[in-house]
Symmetry: C2
Subunit: 141 residues, 2 copies
DNA sequence: GAAAAATTTTGTAATTATTACAAAATTGTA
DNA sequence: TACAATTTTGTAATAATTACAAAATTTTTC
């Protein structure tokens, strides 16, 4: 908690109670949560928390580069407190988003913040879809 | 137009007038249009076209693999009639989505439809963001 | 330490994208 | 032609996100 506060400060984010709680949630739940999921988890701990604050804060985290904003899910934006370059996989059946830290994705690291042609890259998102092992063998289609 | 009809048929899609018009639009406008943009362009030609048909048709095209459904844009889904594996870049300022067919993206092709760990990949989306050359030199920030 | 200024949070109300659904129209087939 | 299946349409609902101004909190200045 105290670490989270310093983490925010060192990234130019004033550490309010709300911001600490939200960042702390992202750092301890690497499940690529939606706004709805974060809200549902935090409201019991912080009953006055508003959705607007949550949206504003997540946008701030994204701008300050302490969170990734993932567009992998067709329906909603998901967030990731792990800002190391890595890829994601979403199961088309159960919707779970998995991290992919495979070393055979060198281009993800090398191209990051480089130029392709005359385009100045500032962020990359590499997303896979398919069926996860669990859903693959599950016959309850 | 006649070609478009055959193209749909050969992919198991019954070629209705609406479907031909929509596919034809995608094949001749490689601008990664939104549903709204496609609708605005086609309604003058086909005044009875409904949004529901457009949504259903684009979903069908995606399922039948004659269109890509892009989640690169935070606000809305975009579609691409070019189904060859390739990457995209969206300018954070003007919003334009550019194609990236760079040869230094080998993994995009090799990993496509392969396995990573115990995950069965069926589609890949590689998205970059940043400023395009045009917006980069434009000082009207 | 109190007052003023700046920042952050909140709640409500809009907006936008997407989906549900059933009736109407169209197309394919017996 | 008539029946069945498919496709299209329009309206209404849902869900995600944003706008906005008032209230609360924090920081700065005197």
């Amino acid at each position: 908690m105290e670490l989270t506060k310093d983490y925010l400060s060192s990234h130019g984010i004033r550490p309010s109670a709300q911001r600490i709680a939200i960042m702390d949630y992202l750092l301890t739940h690497k499940t690529h949560p939606t706004v709805e999921e974060i809200y549902a988890a935090l409201v019991p701990l912080m009953p006055t928390l508003s959705k607007t604050t949550l949206y504003n804060t997540l946008k701030l985290f994204y701008d300050k580069k302490v969170a990734l904003m993932l567009n992998i899910d067709e329906h909603t934006t998901r967030f990731d407190g792990d800002v190391q370059p890595h890829a994601h996989f979403q199961c088309l059946k159960c919707g779970t988003v998995y991290d992919i830290f495979e070393p055979e994705l060198p281009e993800l690291r090398s191209v990051y913040k480089q130029k392709i042609g005359d385009l100045n890259i500032t962020s990359v998102e590499l997303s896979y879809k398919g069926l996860c092992a669990h859903c693959e063998q599950d016959n309850s289609n």
